[in-house]
């Protein structure tokens, strides 16, 4: 069998072919990610990728860096521990919308609130891919899922707005059509100090699109192209993904606020003075 030629030494040749379906967007996002890492100049041994469980969660097994494939919903907690004990490394959480916002939603709001220094890449395909296409907190209203056969009637998360409200200091949304912008945004996030959240809208042709008769993956790419309006640096107001409305993408928020570690060290220094010895991390 012909081995596919990999674009980057940051991917594990021996794990190919990957499990993603034809037309799935997760692989596109991963290509953007490895390019962003290369551009950022961060050495391979200074990047850690942490994933939860799901189709997107499989990323942890395909990246040629230290990676941690954790449990469903808890990637952010594993990553918090890793980030605090390896302050000299970049910790990246790479997971699906269900993993990060449903079962892991509690950790998402608190990790953002604490401004823990990490990059969170949330591939939003509007459904639980791995388990067969059930409704998630990001399924748009009226869209079908296996657990909402007549359409979702629940209110849908607007993830960038949620993250801004929680205190995330870098917040973006792109689609897998916007590969250049996504690479640039990921590169910026990798260099950002604090909690970065990048939502990547992505087609799941096998479950979400087929069930909702949304055509083939190219149709969704066309939608992403035609409906998207780029709005950088203007916050997250008005970015919800309502049906028919413009699809607002961009780097919405980029601010500097003390990270969890910085806050901790500042407070301890105030209280303990010279007795406080900041933790340098494991070697």
């Amino acid at each position: 069998m012909n081995q596919p030629v990999l674009l980057s030494p940051l991917l594990r040749q021996e794990r190919m072919p990957h499990i993603w379906c034809p037309g799935c967007g997760v692989g596109v996002s991963l290509n953007c990610f490895v390019r962003a890492v290369e551009k950022s100049g961060i050495p391979q041994d200074r990047i850690h990728v942490v994933s939860g469980i799901g189709c997107t969660g499989r990323v942890a097994g395909y990246v040629n860096v230290d990676s941690f494939h954790t449990t469903h919903g808890r990637a952010l907690c594993f990553a918090t521990g890793l980030a605090l004990s390896r302050p000299d490394s970049r910790v990246v959480v790479y997971s699906g919308d269900g993993d990060l916002t449903a079962i892991g939603g509690n950790h998402l709001i608190h990790t953002a609130r604490r401004n823990v220094d990490m990059v969170v890449i949330c591939v939003n395909n509007f459904t639980y891919g791995m388990t067969g296409g059930q409704v998630t907190p990001t399924t748009p209203e009226n869209m079908k899922a296996s657990t909402t056969p007549y359409g979702n009637f629940e209110y849908t998360f607007n993830l960038p707005a949620l993250m801004e409200a929680c205190g995330a200091t870098f917040v973006s949304r792109w689609t897998v059509f916007h590969v250049r912008q996504l690479i640039r945004s990921l590169e910026k996030a990798l260099k950002h100090r604090g909690f970065s959240f990048i939502e990547v809208l992505s087609p799941c042709p096998t479950l979400y699109m087929r069930r909702n008769r949304l055509g083939n993956p190219l149709n969704m790419m066309e939608q992403f192209k035609e409906r998207s309006v780029i709005r950088n640096g203007e916050g997250t107001a008005g970015t919800s993904l309502e049906e028919g409305a413009d699809l607002i993408v961009g780097d919405f928020i980029e601010v500097r606020r003390a990270t969890f570690k910085e806050c901790y060290e500042r407070r301890m220094t105030e209280v303990l003075g010279e007795r406080f010895v900041p933790y340098e991390g494991v070697r």
Partner: protein, 397 residues
């Protein structure tokens, strides 16, 4: 009596829950359980089942919501597996001690790490002590039949306990079996509408789950122990009632060719069905071997088990979970507990096998049979062994 139809076991379980006219289902998807709750959500959406389907955001939320619906007096059903069951752990105790008669099917699957979606019994066995009733199905027909039986047991006012219906993930959950499905009317004859003993009701306010100080905690535990242990009688009654009405008889402990057996295998779940054909072959070669299977696991059917193994010289136990660094597998531990101090107790040989989807096949049965035969011939009882390991147990070939 209905015709047998080919149906995926997960769907049969969902249809069966629907025939029980459950009021509420709160669930989160997890392989290999997902098809059950997906099908229920369809039945609810299609108006075939008048119930509330709550697609919650985790299993912790699922079991919590089930406690809420059961506390309100709703007939409550859910399903999970593996990591999902583990995530429910905290709430399992609550459901049990608040005496909320929830029925939950568990498609048994291994626990991480490493991540593994295939069948063994580590999920349920680590939840052995949560105070639920626990029952294991051997095949799809049994799994489907046990759904109404479980509701009947759980909701019996002498019982009022949640119940876990275990069946092997993939091996049963994803196969299409010919199953005789009960109609809603048939089930209604067997299972009357649920009448809660106590519920949260604004006209008669009560508090559920308040603090139990040291002065009452032990008594609460005693009451719970009593409830689980004495559920045995009603369980037998409702199994019998089912047999009388529908002709399919289920007992707390089941045996196969055990009467004159010198060596008896003891196991749980679907493996015993595979082992039956192996037993037939070995019997044809003149060896006296049989199988005993626990259907009921909590409360532990001690008397039935002792009766089933009477006369056997060696018991060969197959566990699908074990306690690392501890005394081996749970089934073997409990069998030894039952044998301790018994006169003429059989010797107990134990293996752990069939972990994380490794097939329990003739090789495994032969391996255990050889060990048992040596003991039968006067050899020492070997310590518990993890078989089917490449390189052997502890690297010994």
């Amino acid at each position: 009596m209905a015709e047998r139809k080919g149906i995926e076991v997960s769907l049969a379980i969902a249809e069966s829950a629907s025939a029980c006219n459950v009021d509420c289902i709160a669930a989160y998807p997890i392989t290999p359980q997902t098809h059950i709750v997906e099908h229920l959500s369809e039945l609810v959406a299609d108006g075939e089942l008048d119930a509330e389907f709550i697609p919650v955001e985790s299993e912790h939320a699922a079991m919590s919501a089930c406690c809420g619906t059961a506390a309100a007096g709703a007939r409550t059903f859910t399903a999970t597996s593996s990591q999902g069951l583990a995530l429910m752990h905290e709430i399992l105790f609550i459901a049990a001690n608040l005496r909320l008669p929830i029925v939950m099917t568990v498609a048994n699957r291994a626990l991480s790490a490493p991540i593994n979606i295939w069948n063994d019994h580590s999920d349920v066995m680590t939840e052995r002590d949560v105070g639920w009733l626990q029952i294991f199905a051997e095949n799809g027909q049994e799994a489907a039949d046990l759904v109404p039986i479980c509701h009947k047991i759980a909701e019996d006012k002498r019982v009022l306990l949640p119940i876990m219906l275990n069946f092997d993930g993939f091996i049963l959950s994803h196969v299409v079996e010919p199953i005789e499905m009960l109609s809603r009317d048939e089930v209604a004859n067997y299972l009357p509408p649920y009448e809660p003993q106590q519920r949260l009701d604004i006209d008669h306010p009560i508090t559920m789950g308040p603090v139990g100080m040291p002065e009452v905690y032990t008594e609460a535990k005693m009451a719970h122990e009593h409830a689980v242990r004495s559920a045995y009688g009603p369980i037998c009654e409702h199994l019998d009632g089912f047999a009388k009405m529908f002709g399919r008889a289920y007992h707390p402990v089941e045996s196969y060719k055990a009467e004159d057996a010198e060596i008896l295998f003891v196991m749980m779940g679907s493996a015993s069905e595979t082992a039956m054909s192996w037993v037939d072959e070995v019997r044809a070669a003149g060896k006296k071997v049989g199988i005993v299977r626990f259907r009921l696991w909590r409360p532990l059917p001690v008397a039935d088990f002792k009766k089933a193994i009477a006369g056997a010289k060696v018991l060969g136990i197959i566990d699908r979970h074990f306690s690392p660094g501890g005394p081996g597998g749970p089934v073997a531990q409990e069998v030894k507990y039952m044998m301790y101090g018994e006169k003429n107790a059989p010797k107990v040989v134990e293996v752990v096998a069939g972990l994380g989807g490794r097939d329990l096949d003739d090789d495994a049965f032969n391996n255990l049979f050889d060990k048992c035969s040596k003991v039968l011939g006067g050899g020492d009882v070997p310590p518990f062994e993890l078989i089917q390991v490449r390189g052997g147990h502890y690297g010994k070939a």
